[in-house]
């Protein structure tokens, strides 16, 4: 599916916020731009600690997209566990340059190994947001 296929008619705008956690700024920018081009609101965090600040605030987030390896005290796995505990309905996509282990696959709604296809991430985000809007877990 092309990125030109807009998700705006498919997704309610006030329920489409994705928290993107990625420590490499240019990769983060590329992912955020691709999601914003689909009408999705994106909050950017550069590490797990920043993401925790967002998740501990009142800011609504429907989906967390996080890298596993990050140079901070809270890596992606710890963040995923904390996010699941704090916001059980949150959709979760994990990306890593390593193979997913059982812990990751059991925790996440989707897993992508790096390098990943940007279109694939965007499409998975859109399908999970649709699930979230319809109350799917």
């Amino acid at each position: 599916m092309s990125l030109e296929v807009a998700c705006k008619p498919e997704l309610e705008q006030d329920q489409t916020t994705v928290l993107v956690v990625e420590d490499e700024v240019l990769i983060r920018l590329m992912i955020a731009d691709a999601l914003r081009s689909q009408g999705i609101t994106v909050i950017e965090a550069s590490n797990g600690e920043e993401a925790m600040h967002v998740l501990q605030s009142a800011v609504p987030v429907q989906l967390l997209l996080t890298d596993i390896r990050m140079p901070s005290a809270v890596d992606g796995l710890a963040l995923a566990h904390a996010a699941r505990a704090a916001r059980p309905a949150l959709k979760l996509i994990v990306a890593s340059s390593h193979e997913a282990n059982d812990e990751v696959t059991n925790l996440a709604d989707a897993y992508f190994s790096k390098p990943y296809e940007l279109n694939a991430i965007v499409n998975r985000v859109k399908s999970l947001l649709k699930e979230a809007q319809h109350g799917g877990q």
Partner: protein, 154 residues
């Protein structure tokens, strides 16, 4: 609508927001996006430099905090921009009056805002700055109004 969105983004320009506090950064970045700007976010000067060194990424204004972790603060980032991206304007935000005053000497007259700042004030500063650079282009506010995007987000 897509055409007017694209026109607005082109008229409004691209702002690189450099702020290490995520909840402050997301508020000002989101506000500026709703005003029609393309916003690129950087957590500190080191990230900002990675963006600024990409010449294909067109940046109009760097809006940066003064005090940040990393290899350089907002002053040093301003100096780097002046030397390496001379077409890019810099607005500094800082809570220390004397430091901000000193920083203003690095920038155009008045290109600093005291912290805490309100998002509308930042938008006004950016809009005036870009309007002064682009006399041939329509005033952003009139563009926003003609596009029926409404007033500033409070």
């Amino acid at each position: 609508m897509a055409d007017s969105d694209a026109e607005l983004a082109e008229l409004a320009g691209t702002i690189l927001v450099v702020e290490d506090e995520v909840l402050i950064r997301l508020v000002i970045a989101q506000y500026l996006r709703e005003c029609g700007y393309r916003v690129i976010e950087a957590v500190h000067a080191d990230e900002a430099l990675l963006v600024l060194r990409k010449s294909e990424l067109e940046i109009d204004v760097v809006f940066t905090d003064v005090e940040m972790p990393g290899s350089m603060d907002g002053f040093a980032l301003s100096q780097w921009v002046r030397s390496n991206r001379p077409g890019v304007d810099v607005i500094l935000a800082g809570s220390v009056g004397r430091a901000v005053q000193a920083a203003s000497e690095l920038c155009d007259e008045g290109n600093h805002v005291p912290k805490p700042y309100d998002a509308k004030g930042v938008h006004d500063r950016i809009r005036r700055l870009l309007a002064s650079r682009r006399p041939g282009k329509r005033d952003l506010q009139s563009t926003l109004e003609s596009a029926s995007l409404g007033g500033p987000v409070q």
